[in-house]
Point group: none
Chain length 140, copies 4
């Protein structure tokens, strides 16, 4: 058997609050999802004005980033026409997200979970996810 | 056009915290989901030890209760063999939940959202959902 | 953050081989799936003669048992007409299995994974899953 | 009626072990799936560190390669913008994989199964699948 380290709900709170503060600062209400290292949902919040369509997108961005230990914007680059992973975005029933806004949460060199953000532009989603990550990492 | 009243994220917090307090009291860590009156997810938390299989079940109990304006245990009674709604539980790709633990959130005679709880027995799930509801209603 | 213990591929091998030995002994070729404690597939084998329909059933029995930390035959009892969880079997897109053959794998009082077996009668499936579990537990 | 030739579990073992040896050699833990000529899963292993998101992707690469008797990277080329199969990647609920790493297993001029690999780059996935294939073919 092996030992793994994963986010708990208190960690999820740090990630959510860091992301929400940035979303408020830039004036874009967001859907924000936190998953554990197995890709399973830990916490979710839809801010007032967050998009209904972004509920699943935020959850799936976080699922992708934690399950693949890789930022969704990296998949975006690899999935462009002509690039080797073109077409990967429809995998897993469309859950494999290739749009920015999903980040793995790393600690001690291992992936311990993920954060996924959706409702703004991909750049805004990523910025807000990074703010959540920074708030969490500040406590390590 | 019409005006609708719905839960916001601050309300969801009241519901979540009321439910979590009861879950802690009875010693059963839960998955808890809050949806708005359109059945769309507002907030979700999986307590430490909450079941992975209960993530979707909690969300779907809340979806069912808010979307149908009806407690999931009422569907449970109506879905027994010989009863008029027998078989309804596989509707909507299995999202229509007929097991206790999903409650509509009512205010001023209208359904403004829902709460769904899963990880314990159906009776425990319902008890925890009712505690969330009570915490919210105490603020009305 | 928290630390969790989970099955690795060597453990999965023990579970698979223990189950296959029993399946061979009773003359019923099986589909056998092993999941980790997050419900994610670790290993799978379909023995010669195992049913094609049992591929998904074995995987979902293991998912259910590991994700819910509960044997699928326990859900079966709770899901009978008149029982409180009647109708739960169509939850999670039908992945929540209420037929015998899925067992959580426990170690040190915690759920570290699951085993799911399908192709025989529910009783045979459970017997084979138990044999897999016994082979693993003998090494603890 | 006709006779078909297909992989059995012993063949699957050869394919898996060949692939795992290469994955270990290049230092990229993989998810590896083997399907029979009907596209149905025969065996699966997730190596320690293999991606959770790659479970379904590996299975679907093998499904695609065995079911279509064609390597997934060939679909990748045909699915580029302007090419005749552009958009095919979302077929079958997204199961039709157009990213390298899925190979048909041929014997005597016929397709007898498939191998699908995921967790590395598409190039690494293909390299590991080819190593599995070579290990099997060495025994023919």
């Amino acid at each position: 058997m092996i030992q793994v380290t994963r986010l708990d709900l208190a960690d999820a709170r740090l990630l959510l609050d860091g992301a929400k503060a940035k979303a408020t600062e830039i004036g874009v209400p967001m859907c924000i999802a936190i998953t554990d290292e197995g890709g399973n949902l830990l916490a979710f919040e839809r801010m007032e004005g967050g998009k209904v369509t972004s509920i699943t997108i935020a959850i799936d961005k976080s699922f992708t980033a934690s399950g693949a230990k890789k930022a969704t914007h990296e998949y975006g680059a690899a999935a462009q026409p002509g690039a080797p992973a073109h077409g990967i975005g429809s995998a897993i029933g469309g859950r494999l997200m290739v749009v920015a806004g999903g980040l793995p949460v790393m600690a001690g060199g291992e992936c311990v979970g993920g954060i996924g953000v959706s409702s703004g532009t991909p750049g805004q989603d990523r910025e807000v996810a990074e703010a959540g990550l920074a708030a969490f990492e500040a406590t390590l």
